[in-house]
Symmetry: C3
Subunit: 427 residues, 3 copies
Amino acid sequence: MSRELAARLTAELDQLVLIDPHTHINPHSPASKTLADIMGYHYYTELAHSAGLAKSQIEEPGLDPKAKVGRLVEWLDKLDNTVQVSWLVALCQKFFGFQDDRITPANWEALYDGAAAKMAEPDWEDQCLQSSKIEKVFLTNDFDDPLEGFNTERYIPCLRTDDLVFHLAKPEVRQRLAKASGIDFHNTQTLKDAIGHLFQHFVKKQAKACAISLPPWFTPQPVGLHEVRAPLQKILSNDPLSFEEQARVSEFVFWTIAEYCAEHKLPFDLMIGVNRRVYRDGVYQGQDLFDMRVSMIQYQELFNHFPQVMFPVSVLAQSSNMELVSYSWIFPNVIMHGHWWYSNIPCHITTDTRARLTAAPRTKQIGYYSDMYKLEFAWPKFQMYRKVLGQVLAEDFVLDRGWSEDRALELGRQVLRGNVETIFGVS
Amino acid sequence: MSRELAARLTAELDQLVLIDPHTHINPHSPASKTLADIMGYHYYTELAHSAGLAKSQIEEPGLDPKAKVGRLVEWLDKLDNTVQVSWLVALCQKFFGFQDDRITPANWEALYDGAAAKMAEPDWEDQCLQSSKIEKVFLTNDFDDPLEGFNTERYIPCLRTDDLVFHLAKPEVRQRLAKASGIDFHNTQTLKDAIGHLFQHFVKKQAKACAISLPPWFTPQPVGLHEVRAPLQKILSNDPLSFEEQARVSEFVFWTIAEYCAEHKLPFDLMIGVNRRVYRDGVYQGQDLFDMRVSMIQYQELFNHFPQVMFPVSVLAQSSNMELVSYSWIFPNVIMHGHWWYSNIPCHITTDTRARLTAAPRTKQIGYYSDMYKLEFAWPKFQMYRKVLGQVLAEDFVLDRGWSEDRALELGRQVLRGNVETIFGVS
Amino acid sequence: MSRELAARLTAELDQLVLIDPHTHINPHSPASKTLADIMGYHYYTELAHSAGLAKSQIEEPGLDPKAKVGRLVEWLDKLDNTVQVSWLVALCQKFFGFQDDRITPANWEALYDGAAAKMAEPDWEDQCLQSSKIEKVFLTNDFDDPLEGFNTERYIPCLRTDDLVFHLAKPEVRQRLAKASGIDFHNTQTLKDAIGHLFQHFVKKQAKACAISLPPWFTPQPVGLHEVRAPLQKILSNDPLSFEEQARVSEFVFWTIAEYCAEHKLPFDLMIGVNRRVYRDGVYQGQDLFDMRVSMIQYQELFNHFPQVMFPVSVLAQSSNMELVSYSWIFPNVIMHGHWWYSNIPCHITTDTRARLTAAPRTKQIGYYSDMYKLEFAWPKFQMYRKVLGQVLAEDFVLDRGWSEDRALELGRQVLRGNVETIFGVS
């Protein structure tokens, strides 16, 4: 009975048109052109590599897209248990009329060609969005993105700040900042001014969020100007910094960004817990991992200091979800945001959704974002989430709490769409 | 089938009369007088605040109880997904004849008035306990509580020691200790003597437990007298202590308390993992959070050193439950105790109950305590637990292991009541 | 419906003949002789002790086996909720015709005598293996095991290296190494040579793995020879080492072992997270616990440095499972290996299996090993796992993903047996 009920609720949730609040879409090329764009998603390259496919086979310079897909397909039988491959099969079935339940060396070429033909249709981008019931898509923009040449009503800019916070010591980052802001900073004040220019630009272009991903060791805190001056001068002289000096600069830039979020009333998306380049010989975007020994207590000063800034928080380790729920339960400015990366599999989403929906205000949870690089992935990923959401609403609310199906669906719609509107100020 | 079975077991467990082994009841005013006492529970004030209600609206000096409830009710539609609000609705239905499934701006006044009338009945305290099937209630008494003027058979004293361990540097704590013990301590021995007086007083008054809540960083260990003498003299001179000096004093007082627990055969309830005042502008009792990076390995010296003391342990982070189960599985003196605070929601209780009942001796688990401040909450909170317990007994024991329903219920009754009797020596 | 489906899948998986990839079987005495061998398993002694049975009663010198069982049986009613006791009852029912569902003071003697008679049959070892559908069994051999006098086709040697890595400072360990290798090492090179001799011996005797258990603090890394020379000389002079000096030696020996694993193409089983002798007065093998604050990030250098070595990894804390899944998802040489010790209970296995089967390549997971000391335990422990696996395949693959039962069973067989063959090179 509970499976039928869950399916019925999921089917209702399927009708809702959505705003995707975090993606890596390139608005100048949002949809795929061939299956190589789709299967080039790091989920497939990293899993095939993990199962044994050499990196050199995947990243061979000048490799033809079709040949690349052919190589990856050879390894799919080792990965077909994964939910990531189930997204791939599901989207091929939905968009490209794929009839089988597995992509194999025997059937992939016809699929490749059919998909290429479909995606070559001039309105494929619109078709894909409409068929996926996606109305608007948040971007992840480099801080020096001109934000020109695309519809910012559909593709909503979001200022990504990792480079500023963690890589200011790289000359090319400082050059990009100088070019984008018109300010060649030489001290703390002019650095603040340069960053302020970026915010003005992004806000003028309808940006609705600022965002950053953060390593497990990072603990944001206000830094005295006297602590950051010397490290900043070292940076300007291209002198090497100690870990501690780099941390002071990162803290200073991060705090400055939070101040501008307050000034411009921009939510500040925190994606907590990623260590970059752990597997140094991994494939592109398949090198990052985490350390579960991270705590949101590291963010207490931030949350206390900026009560007026909304912080939609994503955590990478599933074991961090309870802290996220509890901090959101207490702090008015902490929002639970989606299911990130290694946590984005049904069993973790189920556990996390259950805790979030049961313990913290319904207004403070954004159910899901796709994190996609190409539009074709919104549908299968949101579909995975909707199934989990339908199940949790069925079991925990309709059956356990005696809610009507309508009341449960109202809650589902709020976390799927309503809260995206209210928290980010879009509609 | 498993839902019907679970419901049947839960209904049987409902018949059992219980002893509540940990609450914050004031025995001089155990029951509520108005809905403001009930909705003033920090779960509602902190959730309403988290959803957007200003602290100043909740804690306005001189605010009329009815007006306060009116303000909180305005925010309940943002919180009605939470299990905490489900307790509230359930108790209003059970005790006050509330007919709706939501408390709203349209129906709350009638509820408020009806509840006030009910609670004004002279035997409301007895009615509430009887209707809730609660026979005895453990208290949480300040160390200087005279323990006079109430029935210690019904309201069982428990010596709470947080102030002694962590706040001895505050002059008012030392004054309270001097007054309560008749000893104005001036060195380690007289401090021990003063604490010894408290134990004698509590034991004479039928206390059945000692208790403390502990921050994640705390690691109890024996301290040499030479290490604690200097910090203690600083305290007596009202000189500021370093973190390390304060830690030595805390360790010394904690160890002394454990020694008295051994001498008086009192179980020592440890509530591990709370950081106080993390959200500094939070509402009353809505400021504390945790850091999941805590381990029971920090307590190895304690558990090894006091084999004769029972330690009923509560953990705040759900991720700590597996350590609790494993330490209890090995150490004879470690008892699994209830589901504390942020862990006290059905999905966490289910996971934790499943692990506890499957892996460690059935004699060493106390299923639940209400942690309540007012008697009306025992029933809905225990009811939440009983539903989970019924489900776990149904699925993991009757269906998976082939147990008879009677055998499963015997286990349920033991963790609900039997073990409270044997571990704390009450009946 | 899902329970019937799960039972059907489990019954199919029951038919498969297995290789047990990690045990502590003594190949010279693999099966039990009396119930005392079976109930002497630390699971029963430590649980009975935890419930109140004195260690002196269990470990009394010269205690008669039957008397020992009689003492333990008195405490089983306090433990009968545990899955560990359910293994005991299940194996007595399967192997010894036990008809009751509980072992009690009233029925144990007949069981003891019947079991002894059964186990006295000359082919009991073969009967037990055949009835349990176990074909081959990996051992855990001391580094100086001569590996003589048993069938290495059935009992597969595995080089256990804890003593070398963590206890080289003990003179008896160095004497054993000198005797086994024929090399009385006096510097880093001769130490390497001595260890190399062990590998040659083990590989010649058909060893298929190297293994070690590791404490939570250990972080393997390459050590400069200049860093290890002085500590090694201290060891040779029987001078005490600081924690840091001991760590350098451990790192050096560990890295050396990994190098030999690469040379000999041996998988290196890592069992991460155990603290030894936490409960100092615990019964034999019932003293070890863990600290959940451990991360696989500590192994990043190792995984990067030895891409050619397969590392089947077991984690002790359930909260580490997500890291294990994620590291295995990215690193080609990280294999998910079984469910270890405190994680080896159905609720944790369920959660972990779900995540592993959903997120990482199917070729990189070894579903289960028994960790047994006596052959009789393979069947009930694998049976526990098969039930969980059947349930996860039913719910997550057949029902949620629409897989055929055959396809799901194919996945089940791969993690139960196929991957043991491919990863360890046995068949």
